[in-house]
Amino acid sequence: MTSDIVSFASLAPAWPELVLAVGAIVLLLAGVIWSRERSTAIAFLAIVLLVAVIAVAIWQPAEGVLFNGAFISDGFSRYMKFLVLGGSAFALILSTSTAKPMGLDKFEYSILVLLATLGMMVMVSANDLMSLYVGLELQSLALYVVAALKREDPKATEAGLKYFVLGALSSGMLLYGASLVYGFTGMTQLDRIVGAIALDNRSIGLIFGMVFLLAGIAFKISAVPFHMWTPDVYEGAPTPVTGFFAAAPKVAAMALFIRVVTVSFGPVTHDWQQIVIFLSIASMVLAAFAAIGQNNLKRLLAYSSIGHVGFALVGLSAGTAVGVEGVAVYMAIYVAMTIGIFAAVLSLKTKDGFVETIPQLAGLAQKRPFIAAMIAIIMFSFIGLPPLAGFFAKWQVFLAAVDAHLFVLAVIGVLASAVSAFYYLRIIKVMYFDEPKEEFAVAPAELTAVMGLSGFLIVTYFVTVGSPLYAAAHSAAGSLF
């Protein structure tokens, strides 16, 4: 048996992962030896490491299949990796000044975020059912720990435990599905499963396996009906952790979802399309109605993220390259909006502590007009008002659905979007038209910068990042079809 690893240069497609893995272990050693008090320095170095990994990925655009087919680097995986790395880096930036009051001032936090990011990169590049599972477990296990990191807080512990138990259940379903798929095709490599399906002419066992596999992944993107953990975990975990959960892991799991259905299950597109359409409609509708009654800001954002996953799945349910392109654009804009809104939520601080509920936002526009304006911009973008970025995201996915003659899905999506406008607008109303009750603390500089960047990109999307992003998503989707 020969290996395809003959030299260090032949590993070029996996260099970003290798740099991240080695860097995370070096930082872990540094943290252990260097004393446990310097968590800020480790967090700073972790951000530098993530930027370095992005630089390596840009400098070395090698593509190819490695490790006997377990790992693939193509246009799609590179696009998604940039989103994942960017999401993680910004999540770490969000936690630099808020780590201490949030109980995250342990150097292990940054290390676990790095290792979770490594897991996400493996997920995005997975070309085999086994590497898919290893990546998913690496990411999930790190996330369970991060959720419960503030161990004195019963809510955080509950969030961690709940996430762990339900996550283990979903991993079990995923493994069951993977074993069925392997049993009925004899292959674990994603791009070979497709050949076996074409020969086999869709056996019922294979469809069973696919359904379980997709159910496991749907849990990770928190699509309805596998969303139950999301509001509790988002509410219980410390806010910087919630910001991290909402951005990068969703992108990685969505990338995995897209790769599995498009690469492996191309011949049975009709079968998985039904599942994706159901997940999409259920997520959009449930999120739109369930969020109305929420008073807690983080729970509301949890339902909002469920809704956004539903909208992104509208694009995937088309099952075409245009649809995948739409999802890719949607996820990029979703990450930018999510990071922005969590920067804003983290900078809302009164003398009693961090703002957690919507009524506490009353009169924010008079006290802190900049934060209020940024939240308003992001909320309008969440709704999908032109010319903000959120509009173009939804436009792309609905266009793909209409192209694929999924008119009912598109109409339901637009209606759900209109319902969801209610709770987004309610926040704006509370901020701008209610009487101020409390004084808000001055936001830290880096949170203001992140908010400003997010708001700037959302407002100027059409003239600045819009067309390069579209081109990148186009070539990313092209590498799958």
Binding site: M1, A21, L66, N68, K106, L115, E137
Partner: protein, 202 residues
């Protein structure tokens, strides 16, 4: 009777007998020692089957590490095994029934299990008869699936970090030994010369 068959019966009889003694002996330390005997005989069976790597791993890992750990735990913890053993005869019939059902199920599955004749031709990693199985395992784990092997290692690293960060307590009111402070201590810090006037005491 060939020599291999003779040793097969020797190993399997001792293995089954020692396994029985694991649950039957009164002293828990004896149980662990019988467990070790059982492992060694199972290793002999592996050796007879031509799986020399598994045989040695069984001895090194299970006998060398796991069983010794068991031994330490049973000796350290003062568990009252006599009270745990109460009612064993009372529950024995239920256990026997469950065991019989499992045996029948195993026989049914084992009897009806058929391996497709063309399975070796479609296997992802076909068995190479020309090399010994230590080398074959090494090639599968460290060459073909090296990525997954390292990935699994990363998962275990995360599990270790998680276990430590979620459970380790740093107590502040505990006096710890500081070796550097101890060896860098000077005589002047530890002793005091007191002039005592005669007849008055300190």
């Amino acid at each position: 009777m060939t020599l291999a068959l003779f040793f097969f019966y020797v190993f399997s009889v001792i293995a089954v007998a020692s396994a029985l003694m694991v649950i039957a002996s009164r002293n828990p330390v004896h149980s662990v020692l019988f467990l070790i005997l059982c492992f060694v005989n199972a290793a002999g069976l592996f050796m007879l089957a031509g799986a020399e790597f598994l045989a040695l791993i069984l001895i090194v890992v299970y006998v060398g590490a796991v069983a010794v750990l068991f031994l330490f735990v049973t000796m350290m913890l003062d568990v009252d095994f006599a009270s745990l053993r109460q009612g064993m005869l009372q529950y024995a019939p239920v256990g026997v029934v469950v065991g019989l059902i499992l045996l029948v199920e195993l026989l049914l599955v084992g009897g009806s299990f058929v391996i497709s004749p063309n399975v070796t031709s479609t296997s992802v990693v076909p068995i190479d008869q020309t090399i010994d199985n230590t080398r074959a395992l090494g090639q599968v784990i460290y060459t073909r699936y090296v990525f997954l092997f390292q990935g699994a290692g990363a998962v275990l690293l995360v599990a270790m970090i998680g276990a430590i960060v979620l459970t380790l307590q740093h107590k502040t009111n505990v006096k710890r030994q500081n070796v550097m402070r101890q060896i860098s201590r000077k005589r002047s810090e530890g002793t005091e010369l007191v002039k005592v006037k005669s007849g008055q005491g300190v």
